[in-house]
Symmetry: C2
Subunit: 228 residues, 2 copies
Amino acid sequence: MALSPGDQQAINDLPIRIAEIRAGQDIVRQGDRPSRMCFIIDGFTCSYKMSTDGRRQIVSFHLPGDAPDLQSVHLPSLDISIATITPCRIAFVTHEAIRYLCEKQPKIADAFWRYTLLDAAIYREWIANVAQRSAVSRLAHLLCEMFVRLAVIGDANRDKIPFPITQSELGEATGLSSVHVNRSLQELRKGGYISLTGRTLSILNFHGLTDVGDFNTEYLHLKPIEWV
Amino acid sequence: MALSPGDQQAINDLPIRIAEIRAGQDIVRQGDRPSRMCFIIDGFTCSYKMSTDGRRQIVSFHLPGDAPDLQSVHLPSLDISIATITPCRIAFVTHEAIRYLCEKQPKIADAFWRYTLLDAAIYREWIANVAQRSAVSRLAHLLCEMFVRLAVIGDANRDKIPFPITQSELGEATGLSSVHVNRSLQELRKGGYISLTGRTLSILNFHGLTDVGDFNTEYLHLKPIEWV
DNA sequence: CGCCTATTTGATCTGATTCAAACAATGTGG
DNA sequence: CCACATTGTTTGAATCAGATCAAATAGGCG
């Protein structure tokens, strides 16, 4: 989730290195011990884990404003890899600079901590989503989450959001086969809940979709101003 | 995961209220806006979410030393409920006192942040566990995690740990029916990996169990001293 | 002892996987 | 600007892991 404009400003004053990274590249890898962290300026990325049998499990999607490896500031080695889904513009900042900033500006440290707590809340919801909902419901839930998160950062155009995530990636995120993702999306289309063509998702019936996905925004801990 | 002894000391100096809570009680509930947080001094608890159809999803187990609703310091309303599994001794501390402590002792604030990051790492692993492993593998993984976490806080007696979690609770945590948990545990017993009787779990073949569960301690981010 | 909760077993059913192949879209170089 | 390669989506059929339903057995405890 995006940080507040004030925090963003302080972050913008940091010594950063910007990089353009093309789609489908790892930014950092599981096991790395990076000395810097990154912020997504533009584009979609995801965090994932590999199991020994070679299957990839996506554990979160990151949007502009997110700090996908914030953890590395305090946990030396990464338990996830982070990969771009679209071409991305990424800002890198050294841990050193971040630690210095946190020391000088405890408010920022609090904001980072809050951000981590929010992240954890989303993970909790994903556990519930993957563990107990049917395929259709799981996907509906994920689509609702992506729609709200994109709306919060101003990337929703009415009921439309950019949606560059492939069906096979949706499968890796929800624990479903891509075949079954396909069939479940068709059900959501047939039900008149969504239309998904090219790389754009339209939410045709948000209220209905939240019902199907058992979705409630409370876990996103939105501030009243963020979501009306 | 437990905080370091130094942090524990600072926490012990806080104005706390101790409560004894019997098994199977909610400590706080989803939607609550508490003004205090709690530490588990003794006993097992879990965090859970209810879905609209009434099913309970356990998203984590908490052991002595854990701070299951630390999130409430920065996220006003709870997205989970926390319930005791065994009779517990719980310490309550006001948010006010915690915030004051963090302000005065930035090291402690960092420790809390790190704790939250660790929590998030465990959630990530749970997503992967529930999303892509078979029933037997899922349970093996969870048992490994509980064993290591209990060993770290000194609650393992050689290969034995207290294990008061019922099969139906294991099902609620892993997204399996209690019937299937039962059959899967039998497989682990037959394979000579564990023995589970009464409320005690013996790990008869830890290495084998980690294989079955595709378990690797890296996500627990243990410090070298904690786990040999 | 008797009640309540937890574990175990059996039989049946189903949602999702797997395997295989066709089809559509997108991008690339000649 | 078209031919071709690549990646993503869609469809069909067979199979299976785990759910569900139902009932028996075993522990714990007041």
